[in-house]
C-alpha cells in the first residue's frame, strides 16, 4: 500500500527480472526503503533515529553473536571469560566495549525516537499500530538489556538481577513462588545465568521480527512529518531513495562518530565500577543502581513509600510497570486532532515539562537515597502520571491549536520562501535515482 504516485519497481537486468518473477525480494526492499516509498519532503533530523535504531540493533546482533562464541555461561567462569575476551581474544576488547556501549547507544537513540513520536504526535490515527508495536519493541529491549547486563556476572549484574526479580515478590500470595520460578532458585545463580543467556540470545531476533511489523505498519499510512499534516499530493513527498538514504547516510556517520568516540576513548563512562568486581552473594554493594537507561523508572519505583491498601513496595512496582504500560493507551488519551506540538501552544510546554521531569527522575534514580532526592523523585513521579493520564486528556480537549498549513509543500515554502509550487514540484527529474 502506498501513494498512487509511488514509483514502481522495473527490473532491467535479465537476472533481476528472473528473480522478480520467482522471489520478488528486491521489489520488496525497493518498496520498503527504496525509491518506491514516497516520504514527506520536510522531515527534520529527528526522523533519522528510526534508521539509527535499526543500525544499532544490527550492530548489537553482530557483536553479540561473536561475543557468544567466547562467553562461558557458567556462574564460576562467566566473569573470567569476559575478561579473557578483553585480554586474549583478537579484538575482543573492541567487541565487548562495542556491545556494552552499543546497548546504551541503542537505548539513547530509541529514547530520542520515542520523544520524536511524542512531540510530533506520531502515535495518533492512523498510526496507532506503529506506536503500539514500538512500545512492544521498547519493552523487549528493556528485557534484553537487563538480561545482557547480568551476563558478565559482576557485582552490579548479580545484585541488579536480585533487585529486579525481587519486584515479582511484591505480588501478593504467589509473588515469592513466581520469583523463585523465574530465577530457578532462591537467588541468582547458575540456573538464572543460563536462562538469561538463552533469552538474551533469543530476544534480539524477536525484536527484529517486531521491527519488521513496525515498518510494515508504518508503510500503510506512510511517515508522519513535522507539520503533522497528511500528505496531499506528489509534490509533498520525495522518494525514500535517494533522498532519505542520503540523509540517513550522513546521520549514520555522525552516530558512528559519537559511538566510536565512546568505545575508544571512554568505554567505561556509562558503566559502573562495581561490575568489574566478580559477583559475590555475600557482599552487597553500597548503592545498587541499574544502567542509566533504567534510572527514571527506578526512581519511580523508589518514590512510593507509603503503605495504603497495598504495601508501598507493590505500589512502587505497579507504578514502575504502569509508567511504561500507559504508553500503550496514549493514542486514546490524546484526543487532539492536531498531531504536531508545533501547533499546540499549551501542550508543547507540558511536553517540555515532561522532558525535564524525566531528566530529574533519571538523576534521582542514580542518586543517594537522601531526603532531598527522595522528595524530588516523589514530585517528579506524581507529575509523570499526571502528565499522561490527567493533563494530556484535559489539555487536548480544551486547547485551541494554532492554524495548520494547508499542505506540507505550503509549510516548506512559507519557511524557505521563494519559488512557486509549480517550479519545485518535480525537480526530481534532474536527479536520476542512483539505482
Amino acid at each position: 500500500m502506498s501513494f498512487p504516485w509511488a514509483k514502481h519497481y522495473e527490473p532491467k537486468a535479465p537476472l533481476m527480472k528472473w528473480l522478480d518473477d520467482r522471489l520478488p525480494l528486491p521489489r520488496f526492499v525497493y518498496n520498503a526503503v527504496g525509491a518506491g516509498y514516497p516520504v514527506p519532503r520536510n522531515l527534520n533530523y529527528f526522523w533519522n533515529f528510526g534508521v539509527l535504531a535499526g543500525a544499532a540493533l544490527a550492530m548489537q546482533i553482530v557483536t553479540g553473536i561473536v561475543l557468544a562464541m567466547h562467553f562461558s555461561t557458567d556462574a564460576n567462569t562467566a566473569f573470567t571469560s569476559v575478561e579473557s575476551i578483553m585480554r586474549d581474544v583478537n579484538a575482543g576488547w573492541f567487541l565487548r566495549y562495542a556491545h556494552a556501549n552499543g546497548a546504551s547507544m541503542f537505548l539513547a537513540v530509541v529514547y530520542i525516537h520515542i520523544g520524536r513520536g511524542l512531540y510530533y504526535g506520531s502515535y495518533k490515527p492512523p498510526r496507532e499500530m506503529v506506536w503500539l508495536l514500538g512500545v512492544v519493541i521498547f519493552l523487549l529491549m528493556m528485557a534484553t538489556a537487563f538480561m545482557g547486563y547480568v551476563l558478565p556476572w559482576g557485582q552490579m549484574s548479580f545484585w541488579g538481577a536480585q533487585v529486579i526479580t525481587g519486584f515479582f515478590s511484591a505480588i501478593p500470595l504467589v509473588g515469592e513462588t513466581i520469583r523463585v520460578w523465574l530465577l530457578g532458585g532462591y537467588a541468582p545463580d547458575a540456573a538464572a545465568l543460563n536462562r538469561f543467556f538463552s533469552l538474551h540470545y533469543l530476544l534480539p531476533f524477536v525484536i527484529l521480527g517486531v521491527v519488521i511489523l513496525h515498518i510494515w505498519a508504518l508503510h500503510i499510512p506512510g511517515s508522519n512529518n513535522p507539520t503533522g499534516v497528511e500528505v496531499k499530493d506528489e509534490q509533498d513527498t520525495v522518494p525514500f531513495h535517494p533522498y532519505y538514504t542520503a540523509k540517513d547516510g550522513f546521520g549514520l556517520g555522525v552516530f558512528l562518530l559519537i559511538f566510536a568516540t565512546i568505545i575508544f576513548f571512554a568505554p567505561n563512562l556509562l558503566g559502573h565500577p562495581d561490575n568489574y568486581i566478580q559477583a559475590n552473594p555475600l557482599s552487597t554493594p553500597a548503592h545498587i543502581v541499574p544502567e542509566w537507561y533504567f534510572l527514571p523508572f527506578y526512581a519511580i519505583l523508589k518514590s512510593f513509600t507509603i503503605d495504603f491498601i497495598m504495601p508501598a513496595k507493590l505500589w512502587g512496582v505497579l507504578a514502575m510497570f504502569g509508567s511504561i504500560l500507559l504508553l500503550f493507551f496514549l493514542p486514546w488519551l490524546d484526543t487532539s486532532p492536531v498531531r504536531s506540538a508545533n501547533y499546540r501552544p499549551v501542550y508543547r510546554w507540558f511536553l517540555v515539562a515532561l522532558l525535564v521531569d524525566v531528566i530529574i527522575l533519571g538523576y534521582v534514580g542514580g542518586a543517594e537515597p537522601i531526603a532531598r532526592n527522595i522528595i524530588m523523585g516523589q514530585i517528579a513521579s506524581a507529575y509523570y502520571f499526571l502528565h499522561f493520564l490527567v493533563i494530556l486528556p484535559i489539555v487536548s480537549a480544551m486547547e485551541r491549536p494554532r492554524p495548520l498549513p494547508n499542505s506540507i509543500t505550503e509549510a516548506v515554502l512559507a519557511k524557505r520562501g521563494g519559488t512557486a509550487p509549480t517550479k519545485t514540484a518535480m525537480s526530481g527529474g534532474a536527479i536520476a535515482p542512483a539505482e
Partner: protein, 280 residues
C-alpha cells in the same frame, strides 16, 4: 472510558507519590539525617596524572616495570593478580628470557599434581601461567589477614571510581585520625587492627600501610624510590593490568575517528547534492 479509568489510575499514583512526598518532607524536618564521619571526612582521590590518561594516553613501560617491581616486592605478599599471566609482561617491555626468569623465580608456585604420583603439589611457574594467588583460598586469606580478604588487583583501577588516582591516594593517604573527627564523632575512633585512611569509603581500612619508608624498593633505573613515586608507579602498573589493550584502543580510536570524519563529510556532500534543488 479509557480516559476516565486512566485518569483515576493516574490520580491514584500521583496522590500516593504526593502523600509520600509530604511524609518524607515531614520526616526530614522532624528528624534531619544525622551527619556521619564517613560523610564529613571521606575525601575524593588526589589529582594525579598518568601517561595513560586522555585520548592520546600511552603506557610508560619504564614506569610500568617499576610498578611491577613494587607489586612483586610489596603487594604480591597478600594480593593476587589472577587475570594476568607472566607472558603478558612482554607487553611492558620484558624480553622472553626475562619473563621466563621472572616466572621461574616467583616466590609462590603454581598448584599442580605431581607428575609421578598424581598427588597435589606445586611446580615452578611458566610464562603461560597466570600469577598464582598468595593464599590457597578465601578462608586462608581471611585467616592470615585479620578476617579481611585482600582483593584481587587485576581490575582494581577499573573497579573503583577514578581508579588509578584512588590507588595512589589510598597508598599515600594513611594518617592519624584528625582530632577534629574525634571531637565531632567520639564513637568513630578507628578500631584496633584497622588503619585510618580518608580515601577509603568508610575511613578505616584493614590493610596496614604497605609503603612505609622511602627506599623500600630499590629501583634499577635510578628513579628515586620515594613513597610517592612507588605509589604512583604501582598505580600506573595496575592501570595496565586492568586495561592492557589501552594503547591499541587509542590507536584504533584515532584511525576510526579520522575515517568517520571523512565519511561524514562525504555523506554530507552526497546529502546536499541529492537535495540541492529540493526545498525542505
Amino acid at each position: 472510558m479509557v480516559r476516565i479509568i486512566g485518569g483515576l489510575v493516574g490520580l491514584a499514583f500521583a496522590v500516593m507519590a504526593f502523600v509520600g512526598f509530604i511524609s518524607t518532607t515531614v520526616g526530614a524536618i522532624q528528624e534531619p539525617a544525622a551527619p556521619t564521619a564517613e560523610h564529613e571526612f571521606h575525601e575524593h582521590p588526589k589529582d594525579v596524572r598518568f601517561a595513560s590518561d586522555g585520548p592520546f594516553g600511552r603506557f610508560d613501560n619504564r614506569q610500568l616495570q617499576r610498578g611491577f617491581q613494587v607489586f612483586k616486592e610489596v603487594c604480591s605478599a597478600c594480593h593476587s593478580l589472577k587475570l594476568v599471566a607472566f607472558r603478558d609482561l612482554q607487553q611492558i617491555g620484558y624480553s622472553e628470557a626475562e619473563v621466563k626468569a621472572i616466572a621461574a623465580q616467583w616466590a609462590i608456585e603454581t598448584p599442580a599434581p605431581n607428575p609421578e604420583t598424581g598427588e597435589m603439589a606445586t611446580r615452578r611457574n611458566q610464562p603461560a601461567d597466570r600469577f598464582p594467588a598468595p593464599f590457597a583460598n578465601e578462608i586462608a586469606a581471611r585467616a592470615a589477614n585479620n578476617n579481611a580478604v585482600p582483593p584481587d588487583l587485576s581490575l582494581m583501577t577499573k573497579a573503583r571510581h577514578d581508579g588509578a588516582a584512588y590507588v595512589y591516594s589510598l597508598l599515600t593517604g594513611y594518617q592519624n585520625q584528625p582530632a577534629e573527627l574525634l571531637r565531632q564523632f567520639p564513637d568513630a575512633r578507628t578500631p584496633a587492627g584497622l588503619h585510618y585512611n580518608p580515601y577509603f569509603p568508610n575511613l578505616n581500612l584493614a590493610m596496614a600501610p604497605p609503603l612505609t619508608s622511602n627506599g623500600q624498593v630499590q629501583y634499577a633505573d635510578g628513579t628515586a624510590p620515594t613513597i610517592d613515586n612507588m605509589a604512583k608507579d604501582v598505580a600506573a602498573f595496575l592501570v595496565w593490568t586492568a586495561e592492557p589493550k589501552l594503547q591499541a584502543r587509542h590507536a584504533a580510536g584515532w584511525a576510526s575517528v579520522l575515517f568517520l570524519v571523512i565519511f561524514c563529510f562525504l555523506t554530507w556532500g552526497a546529502y546536499k547534492s541529492v537535495w540541492r534543488d529540493k526545498k525542505h
